[in-house]
């Protein structure tokens, strides 16, 4: 397999990885970016959500080679400079996590939905947030505060 080139959190990355390498394995095993979690093996839990060219995808369900040339953003790349991203800040303030396992995926999905709704000029109200979170499962079932966090971040983004 040829050299795979892409950008991860704004850094150019070049790696020689086998064809079957999943994006999540490239991130976690090869680049040691372990903020992206793996919670299932079926593409259902959303713990592995990252952004590829600005869109949320499940990194366990995408081949690394399929995103060659793309810009990938993980939870590690969200905060720019010193401060937290408004979505991270909102999860902190609203206690939007319990064990924290689902949190990276929740935050990446949260940012994606806020950006999409803003671009389309649509209102991201509570039912919309709940609908948008269909692909993110919280084993601690702390959805109440997750929804609140996203709602509060949406107002600040």
């Amino acid at each position: 397999m040829g050299q795979l080139k892409l950008s991860v959190n704004g850094r150019a990355v070049s790696r020689d990885v086998p064809g079957e390498t999943l994006l999540v394995d490239l991130l976690r095993e090869h680049l040691r970016l372990t903020g992206t979690h793996v919670g299932c093996d079926t593409g259902q839990c959303g713990a592995c959500v990252v952004h590829v060219d600005g869109r949320a995808v499940k990194a366990c369900n995408v081949l690394a080679h399929a995103v060659a040339g793309s810009q990938v953003t993980t939870i590690e790349g969200l905060a720019d400079g010193g401060g937290l991203h408004p979505m991270q800040q909102a999860f902190n303030e609203n206690h939007g996590l319990q064990c924290g396992f689902c949190t990276p995926g929740m935050i990446m999905s949260g940012v994606d939905m806020v950006q999409r709704y803003k671009a389309a000029g649509r209102d991201l109200d509570e039912p919309a947030i709940r609908h948008e979170l269909e692909g993110n499962i919280c084993r601690c079932t702390g959805y109440e505060n997750i929804v609140k966090s996203i709602q509060s971040a949406a107002a600040r983004m």
Partner: protein
Amino acid sequence: MYATNYHRPATIEEAVSLLTGNDEAKALSGGQTLLPTMRQRLAAPSDLVDLRGLPGMTGVSAGDGTLTVGAAVAHADVAGNADVLRLIPALAGLAGRIGDPAVRHMGTIGGSLANNDPAADYPAAALALGASIVTNSREIDAGDFFQGMFTTALEDGEIITAVRFPVPEKAAYAKFPNPASRYAMVGVFVARTSAGARVAVTGAGADGVFRHSAMETALDADWSPEALAGVATPADGLLSDIHGSAAYRAHLVGVMARRAVAAAG
């Protein structure tokens, strides 16, 4: 996952030549079905031929009473496309309720039709609207394309390049999602076309998507939810599993069909 070689061809011709003459090669689109299957070691292709972004397989175009969707168009892009929203809003609505946002960013219409999952949404739209499945070598009428659970008319190495939908007078899709997987427990797509009413049911048939001719006859006489009140759906040949019995699904078919006709107006 077993070892595999990844290919990104530049043209449809190159993709077809990589796939033909190699039994172990498989087309890859969004990977939202194929990659989980490979991870469970239920599939072990030696080579994956990525079709996303191939010229001739992207974009949506409207013309002459039809709407053509490139096979590699993602569900989210069908859901948000201005032409789809204007001409067949029921199709946009269907695409926007497949799985979840991250699945919709990757999964494609071509991959969904080629896979022909008995609980998938797109097969119902293709069959009810009388779509043509355009491949690298021919056009296949949706009525001939679906040949039973996970089985289609596609030959080895043949790839779907686009799907052409005749624009109906009105249409709607009603889905009762399985609360865990989001796939259809039962989904009914109804369309009123120049050739009459068409009703396609997904999620329920043991052989995959099917047309409900008794409902079509009833709707031809009177396009209204009430017209479906007395139309029976036999439970024979319907799926029965831990999620619902055949009788339960037969009942849901009636409920979803009435909701769809009401929504179509």
